[in-house]
Every structure is written in C-alpha cells, then in structure tokens.
Subunit: 343 residues, 2 copies
C-alpha cells in the first residue's frame, strides 16, 4: 500500500513527521511512503532510524505553506510546496491511496477541494474530527469547518458518511446520528435545521433527533451532523472551555501551598484525565467525501499522531470504506432527490 | 421603583424566588415588588421573612408554564400563568420598570416578543448572558438564542446594545466587541459574517475583529456578537465541556485512594474554581432591545441569583441604560441604513 505524507506541514515538522513515518514503516511491512519536502533534511532525519529505506521515497520540494497565508493564494502560488506536491501525487498516481498532512487546515481543505475533487454523488466533502466523550467513548463531528454555508442535502450526505465511518472504523452496529441544534425538541432551530430534520428522519441511518451543544461530549451520540460554521464553533468552544478550566484550576492550585501538595497526590488522576481528553492520539480528521483518502492531522501533531493518521488511511483503504460510502450515497440518491423535491 | 417577578418560574420556585425577593426588599428600601403565583403559597412563604410586607403585592395566578411546553402555545393558552400575568403587568402598568423570571427560556422570550415588543429602532431584541473569563473578568455574549436566523442589521444592533450594556454596567470605557467566527482573519466565515464584518467596522464601537470560539473565555473580549443559533452553540458547548471535564476529573479522583487524599488538600482550590465559574451569582441574562427591562434568570436559580437579577433591573433603570441604547440606535440608524443600502 502506498501513502503520501506532507513532510513539511505542522508545527513539529519535519522531525516528528519523519519519526511518525519511521514508526509506520517499522509496523507495517507492506507499507510504502512517499514524503515531500527538502530532500537533504529528510534524508538526514531518516538516517536516525533503522528502517527499510527502500520503502520510503523522498520527493524534493522547495516551498512551505504556513498558517497565516491565504489558503487559495498559497495553493495557487506555491506550486513547489510540500503540500501542493503531495496533493498532486495523490491526484495523479493511481497506486497512491491516501494522504496525511499536519499542515494549515485551510490550505489542506482548499487544496483538496481544488485538486482531489468529490466522491461520486457527494454534494460536499466534510472534515470530521473524533472527540472523546465522558464515558471514555468517542463522537464524530461532521462538518467542523470545510463548508461555511451548507444546504440540507449537504447535511444528509454528512450524516450518511459519518454513520458509515463510525460503523466501519469502530464496528458500531447502528451509530446514533444527531443533528446539532439549540434544543432536543423536533421543531427547534434555524431554517437549515427545520429543512434538514425531516430529511434525516427518512434516511437509512439511526437518526436519533436533535442534540443540544451541551450534550456533545455526553456519550449519547456517535455522530453529530452540523453545517461547518456551527460545527467549528462547537469544536473550538469545547476545546477552549476545557483549556480555560484547566488553566484556572492550575492557577488556583499554585495559589495555595496545601493544594500544591494535594496536586502531587493527584498526579496519576490528572495524567489519566489528560490522556482521556487527548484525542490527537487517535490520529487526524478524515476529509470524508473527497475522491481519495485524506487525513488532516492536528497542527501540533507529534510522531504518534502521525502514525495514527497513517493507520487511519490503512484501515479506510483495507476496509474499502470509500467504496461503501459511495455505494450508500448512490443507493440513497433517489431518496435524497425526492425528499428535496417534495419540500 | 416597582418590579414584577414571576413567582412560579424556575426549578426552585416558588421558595427560592420568594427568598430572593425578600432579600431584595430588605436591601433596597425604595423597592416595591409585584409577584405572580398562587397567593396562599406565596403568603405562607413570605411569612418566614421579617420584611416590610407593604412593599410586596401578590397577584394571584392559577397556572404554571413548564419547560417541555411549546412556548407559543403556552403563552397563548395559559393566560392565567404566573409568567403571562407578569408579562401583562410589565406591559400595562407604566410604573413597573422591569421583570425577572427564571421560567422556561423559550416561553419567556416568546412572551416578551409577543407582549412587550421592541425598543424603537431595534430590529431584533437579543438575549445576552455574561460568562466568566480566564482572567477573572467577564464577557457578554449577544445573542445566545432569541433569534435563530439573523441578518447583518440585527448583528449591528446586537453589537451596539452589547457595547452600551458593558460600558454602563461595568464602567468599561471602550468595550472590545468581536464577531464570532471560525478564525480571526478578516475574510473568514459564512455569508452572514462576510456581510456583517464591514458593517461592524464602521459603527461607533470598538470593533476588534473576528473571534474564534476557542477564545470565548480568554478575557480578550468584552462583547461577542453572534446570530442566536451559533451563539447558543457557543454558550452550551462551553458549559457542556466544562461539566464533562469536571465529571471526568471526579471519576479519575474517585478511582484512586491517593488522589482522594490529594483532593482533600485541594478543597479550597476546587471551591475557588467553582466560584469563579459560577456565573449565576451575577444574576440573569438581559433581553436587550425589548421595550422594557426583562431579565431571564437561570432555570436553576437560587435566592442569590434572583436577588442579583432584581439588582440588574435596578441598575439598568437607575442608569437609564435603555434610554442610552435607544439614543445610540437612533444616532446610528442613518449609518446602518446607508451601509446596508451600499452593499
């Protein structure tokens, strides 16, 4: 299996990207990785690892896209960047099944929209991160920011893709799919929710109704469907609130000697909480609905996250998940079209 | 000063509502409170307090609106409910300057829209809760759910009202107003953000640009402007994530004896964190832009929150805040209209 990795995307690139690739090459004997970036630097880094170098191909690039750049200008302008070259390899080489990048989300998504295109029948691809839940489970949020203004048909496709992803990746028989809303009652929400709710009810998924943002991490849902704007707010508000609480707690502990002693006793519990909340360990967010497999790894990814992202590509490919999604979208195309016409 | 209080709204009504009113009557010698609800029950509860009963008027009502009811049906159908009668008193009696209710948010907002109406020039009133920030400050979110599908002009009015509120209530010279978005860059966001951003830039407020949801509680902003749907997601996702983290931490402490000992040492710090995050202590959320002062107290309000909500009415009234907002809306009406025409 061949995978392409953006060697110079993310805060900890290229060191941690190379380390992640090395871990993957060691773990999977049938894996072949193409990595883009400065050849000399990459070769130097790979020399630190005792791995089968014949399964690594370095494609030399001279540019890097950074976070502050306009995604469209960066993709158009930096044709020899590690990301654009990686996207071209994914697009053009039939034997390459997927891409992993920890680069700027905007650039990765824009590049994917421009170069990779959509799966047949999918109205819009969507970025779908996994978050940890209260009961040590996980919930998939789709979309978290790839599409700013979504239509009901887009949300139907998000629901179908999200459900198929959770079913196949985690063996969940009947993933519970919810619609992000301001309350759980059927008629709550904005115009988009009003139009989408009855459509979701008629799809061949386990649609369990509306979800309030406060229940996102409750463990009651497997898939949360949302337009990209609200989904982004949901994701980042959750992350921000957790960081805020952690920082307040830290300050209040530091302000008291007794508490600092107490914190020493609690070290293991704090560590366990941190591990539970660390969703980067699971790899990145799949860009579901794109023509080929694309995993956006977190910008601050370390080697274990890169390895996990590569493993996501492997699992999606081995499970033929994209074929399954494409088939389901095709099977429900009539339903979707009829539902929307009848409105 | 005369205020009307919904005696039977909220999880802890009527006991905690009566206690809150009693505290207010004791604290403010010129306060007169009209309270709606079952007369016998309310009289019995007030008998527990040694206060000047001549400044309390009980208006007997026979119905109660509960959380699960459809707001519109409840307001239309339950004409003798404590909330509807309180709204009618606010509407009809000129000497009554404000209302406090801890009842169902939907019913309170619907009732306010139907019975109280808008301040002159305001396109839509909005619900504006205060949240605690990392640096022990506070941030106002406007709107958190009164308007599901908002227009750019609505968000302009939210910004003007929110800025005036923070300036007058907390003596903030130049409140920093931000627009909720998916990133800080000027051109980020959905169509509503694209249209609203340039309008906010031209208003006589300290508009500091777009805000990512993760920075909501960072203390960098005084007012966060949003459509009601995304604002609701922002508020509830923040609350939910904090509750989730607290519950995970609790479980991980309980799972280890050492940690439980450590937690005893940290009691004071945990208490301090809880106090910092407890925004109910500040009272309820003003429904800014309504014709008269209306404070929606949290559904689980205890007496101190009810007292704080009553104090909000007193301060808004004494500061003539609503006159100031009305004046500013009038002064900017030309700007707003021209900005929207020119688009």
């Amino acid at each position: 299996m061949k995978i392409v990795v953006d060697g110079f995307g993310g805060d900890n690139s290229p060191d941690e990207i190379v380390k992640g690739v090395a871990l993957a090459i060691k773990k999977y004997s049938d894996l072949y990785v193409i990595i883009t970036g400065d050849k000399d630097k990459l070769e130097e880094l790979f020399d630190n690892y005792d791995i089968d170098k014949s399964r690594i191909e370095i494609v030399h690039t001279t540019e890097i896209i950074i976070n502050d750049e306009s995604p469209t200008e960066a993709i158009r302008g930096k044709k020899d960047s590690s990301l654009v070259v990686a996207l071209n390899i994914l697009k053009e080489r039939e034997d390459v099944c997927g891409l992993v990048s920890a680069g700027s989300t905007g650039a990765v998504l824009t590049g994917a929209f421009m170069k990779i295109g959509r799966m047949k029948g999918v109205s819009r691809p969507a970025l779908a991160p996994l978050l940890p839940t209260k009961n040590k489970g996980r919930v998939l949020l789709i979309d978290c920011g790839a599409n700013m203004d979504s239509k009901p048909i887009n949300l139907c496709h998000f629901a179908l893709m999200g459900s198929a992803y959770m079913k196949n990746m985690f063996n969940i028989e009947n993933p519970r799919v919810a619609l992000l809303n301001v309350g759980v009652e059927d008629k709550k929400g904005n115009e988009l929710c009003h139009q989408t709710f009855p459509l979701l009810k008629q799809l061949p998924i386990n649609f369990v109704g509306n979800m309030e943002a406060r229940d996102f991490l409750s463990g009651k849902y497997d898939v949360v469907v949302s337009d990209g704007f609200s989904g982004n707010v949901l994701l980042k508000a959750s992350e921000g609130a957790i960081q805020t609480l952690m920082s307040i707690l830290k300050n209040e502990i530091k302000a008291r000697k007794m508490s600092m002693i107490g914190a020493l006793f609690m070290k293991k519990s704090f560590k366990a909480v941190k591990k539970l909340m660390d969703y980067e360990q699971w790899g990145g967010s799949p860009f579901l609905g794109a023509k080929k497999i694309l995993i956006k790894s977190h910008g601050s990814s370390f080697a274990p996250s890169i390895l996990a992202s590569i493993e996501q590509v492997i699992q999606i490919n081995n499970d033929k998940l994209y074929d399954k999604i494409e088939k389901q979208i095709e099977e429900t195309q009539d339903i979707c079209e009829k539902l929307i016409e009848n409105k």
